[in-house]
Symmetry: D2
Subunit: 362 residues, 4 copies
């Protein structure tokens, strides 16, 4: 617990890296929403390893929607999605069972699950589980697009290389959603990939920063005090493995500004209230103001590396040295951005349904 999140639209995740299926139950979507299987498959494909810089684990991610959808329309009842785990070789992970990988969940899972956790491939803590979240979020993301709400994420920073800033958001989002390696400036993407390969060559890994834009949300959405839109978004983002920070709008940089520079002056544009700047990332007082929602997450470098590391064997409570084997990603930032998109879509659907009722998005 808690593997369910959401108030009016909720998702429940299940599965382990090396189990038979992973999956998600998406509950609370309005009836009559169109399901686009190609769209889901596309997002799952984007989440899958990039042959050049990722682990060679290949999965077709042949998701199957087993309930809640008839003739590609939601029925309004729970949508269960299952995805088979293929290409599972448990043997690779046997050393991991009691020797804690530093900065991974091995030791903390032991403290919580007392040795009963499924440690094969990270078990329930594996990034593999995010495929189920992506499938559920893809349904939401497509539904939002039918209502003019668009979400896109780029790799703002990776291996010390910075992508350019968002420009025209709608065209940037369209562009990003078609790319395997989501950068606005492809040349920067090539440099990032090279940085990843360089780290991998040394048995090391890199992290990065992901920046998400959400365009088209109406003003007035969010449920303060406690379910501010920032609270809801950060809650789900920190559930994604490897996220160690999140900031909205100008984020940490705003803390060095003065109010006169940080405040976003309002003005009228085509009869709508807009703001001249967007240092608050589209959210005031926890409620959307109609401007684009902008946030960034800090993704830590993949903790599993191929260098020897000091650690402990928690079975014997003795110090030891870990030399990981098997398949691992030297970076996950390019895959995590799809998860961030999906998680964002879930939160938007939930916030909209809380505000406008269960039929919203129909």
């Amino acid at each position: 617990m808690k593997n369910t999140i959401g108030n009016s639209v909720a998702v429940t995740l299940f599965g382990e890296s090396h189990g038979e299926y992973i999956g998600a139950v998406l509950d609370g979507l309005a009836p009559g929403i169109e399901i686009n299987p190609e769209y889901i498959a596309h997002m799952l494909t984007l989440r899958r390893p990039d042959g050049r810089i990722s682990t060679p684990r290949k999965e077709a991610d042949d998701f199957k929607i087993v309930s809640g959808v008839v003739e590609n329309r939601t029925t309004g009842t729970p949508i269960a999605i299952i995805i088979p785990n293929e290409n599972v070789k448990s043997g690779d992970y046997s050393q991991m069972r009691t020797v804690a990988r530093p900065s991974h969940a091995d030791y903390t899972a032991q403290c919580k699950y007392h040795g009963y956790q499924d440690s094969r491939g990270g078990g329930h803590f594996s990034g593999r589980i995010t495929a189920a979240l992506v499938a559920a979020g893809a349904i939401c993301k497509y539904a939002l697009e039918q209502k003019g709400i668009y979400i896109g994420t780029h790799i703002k920073r990776c291996g010390g290389i910075a992508d350019s800033d968002f420009g025209d958001l709608l065209s940037d989002i369209t562009s990003l959603n078609g790319k395997t390696f989501a950068v606005l400036e492809d040349e920067k993407g090539e440099q990032m990939r090279q940085a990843v390969l360089d780290a991998a060559a040394e048995g090391d890994s890199v992290g990065g920063v992901l920046e998400t834009a959400i365009v088209g949300m109406p003003a007035g959405v969010g449920e303060p005090w406690f379910d501010t839109l920032e609270s809801m978004l950060s809650h789900v983002m920190f559930s994604i493995p490897a996220v160690k920070g999140i900031e909205f709008g100008a984020g940490f940089a705003i803390s060095d500004m003065r109010g006169s520079g940080a405040n976003d002056p309002f003005r009228m544009e085509n009869g709508r209230v807009v703001s001249a700047t967007n240092n608050n990332g589209g959210i005031n007082g926890g409620i959307t103001n109609g401007m684009p929602i902008i946030f960034r997450t800090a993704i830590k470098p993949t903790p599993t590396i191929f260098k020897p590391q000091d650690t402990v064997d928690f079975a014997t409570m003795t110090e030891t040295v870990l030399q990981p084997k098997g398949r691992h990603d030297p970076a996950i930032v390019h895959r995590a951005r799809v998860v961030q998109d999906a998680a964002s879509a879930l939160v938007m659907c939930d916030a909209l349904a809380m505000r406008f009722g269960t039929d919203f998005l129909k």
Copy 2:
């Protein structure tokens, strides 16, 4: 909605800046926990304006616990705390009713509450409400201390001035909890105050960064997938007005590290598993690892300033210029740190009760 947060230990907030009372209902604390009224009063005093750099609004914050406590022990049933609003002058705020203060909740509240919101002094969006959260959190914080769990926050950065880093955490926390202006290095604190006064003199405001340490939490606490300890903490932190970012451990800086530098190697110390570094801020896979929990929040500069600002009047949907009057803080970072302590204490109590049952902390 949602003005209640928490699973096993929950708090419900109510009140407006210029209403008769603000208050909190704290539910789920074990029976038999000692209540220390002086401790609560001390935290409320720390949250109150600092005469030198804050608004002159003075309130005794004469909180009253009206249920759930008998002879300074919790009964195990809901603890309701009410705090009267004194010194309320509604008149000052009349201009605010339809002219949106940039980066404040005026406009978004209008979009959500359609003109029925209490706009006097910011209403339910006022920082005033945090006094109720502080009172409830103070009860939790004191209860945690009886179990050897300590929480402290310092102003890591304000007005461009940086405080020194945490050293010995326990003694730092003790020191901070006694200070009105919570810095580790008092000289830096003086510089920060001067920066605030400088900004105030220009009718402007400043923000800052708050850093919190939580020491003594047992390993194995947190409920992934979705109720990771980071998710729970960030959820409540982004409910605090002015917070625009949060990061754990090395935070955003970890995104530029390589895995070999970011990973925290485990080792044994006095029969306990510890880590040599703490780039993950005491949390792996969303679960405590027994190391100190470290996080930082970005606090934006107070949006209400005394310079003219472009904005709109949402009653007429026309552009106008706002020249705020009344009393306002040129900085809130020194007050927000008390709120951050209180909110952290609430989350720790909730996470511990989820893990160990309703009698935990008794």
Copy 3:
């Protein structure tokens, strides 16, 4: 925990029989709803003891709304209501502290709260707490009436006497809501009162059956599988002290019917789908069908009586005989019906807001 109930509209209760205040926080009501203080006062008056057959404890129930309402309109933020406890004489209850009153919560509270519970007057388990629920529910009930949704409860059975059946629901509800002793046939009410007085004269108490009708709910409200309208209603009804059963429509009698007699045939009436009978109490598959919602609760006789009773002293774990002193009601059925009305109103508001969004009822 859990002293909060509701998804989109929620209420949090606090207080003890002999504390300073009891109260409720009502969260999630739309902004702009009219508050009618006289209506609330009227419901509180109906809940208060009837001089002839109830305990002489007299309270003005001077409720105060301390947040969430401006100029008698909801703001959309939490509505906190506090009601002072007057006329509190703790001394009467001193014997109760360790000698368990049979069928009261004394012993179970001891098992849960380990002696820290407030045992004065029943503490948090006192029927007194229902005054706060009534105040919150009165706000909801009045709001529903503005939308054409009406709720009324009569004493269907008390002391072996049966009231007549519901006839024209709207006029019955109007009539009941004006009565102190809510029966459809006043002569039966007199017989019931006499039965209560007869029991009281013998130091005994009586129970009864309450029947509630809710008219005007639109079809299509309810959130199966688990938040069926029956589930939501029964959840809150079993939180009301003394309720030991609930049945919808024909209720337990339906279990002896055959399908051909139990089924409610649909037909058209003025362009609306209605049913010829209402054995299902207005709910099919957990969702409203547009017919009146009808349910009955079983109220047990007040457990505190003036006859000696065998029991145990849980401090010494020895058997003893209890001879209660102090003030107690020989029946509560006539007061509980107000609580049932209020609780029903809360559930209807929550179910409607889940279905139609936070602005519903505005």
Copy 4:
């Protein structure tokens, strides 16, 4: 929404009568609990149609646990169970799509889901979904038994025939859990079956009353005000299709008693507090008192019958006559008792985990 129920131990249901799979996700069970596949299979077998009096739909109910269990021990992470739907013939139900079966969910589902509901075989409202609940509950029920907590249900009444009363609860429960047609007195069971067959011969159906006993729960479990054990049990019971009433202990009969007869006197027995009678069904003030928990539900006769019935076609909003075809049960009471056992087990696990933490039952 809401297809998830539970606080510390939660279950999420999904599926439709004629979809590919139905299933459940059981979240929050402690790690290390033994899973007994035979026990689950046995409960699923008991839930399946009885050849003599039920629909001929035959399903192997080949459940598959796809996550959360390793080597027949819970891992502490979500347990997902999927059960394939076999023997699905959609064609039989085509007439049902717009002609509402009286007292079934067809019309209300239309009002809620606007024609997008899966109407084949009742869709998400089908009793078929209870198989998933039974599988999840079977895991809980077996876990409870390892801790000395036993649950059993008998058909107290069916077709006008009454079973005998509970006697020695532990032996009665053991006996019932082995029976396909769960009565204490087999001769009464034969008479009930004959009554069902008689009704079926006339194209009609019967209902009944189910009585459940839960033995071994410790005193002090339940979370008033709102999560009383009665509230939690009734909430889930009213989610089971066909339940129209629930009563605890003496139930509705208590409303005609006087306090002196209804109260359960406490006494000591082997150092434990027990009560001489159990009119309160093991629950005082919403909290267990250590006595057996006893409750009864009213099950309505199966709404689908083979007699012509007046109804409406909601596509055309015209009156019509329905003559159902296909396969249907003339009674479900003998199957529903398994669901009631399973649902009870879920609630007990949740209440125990709220009280004693996530490791309880380990």
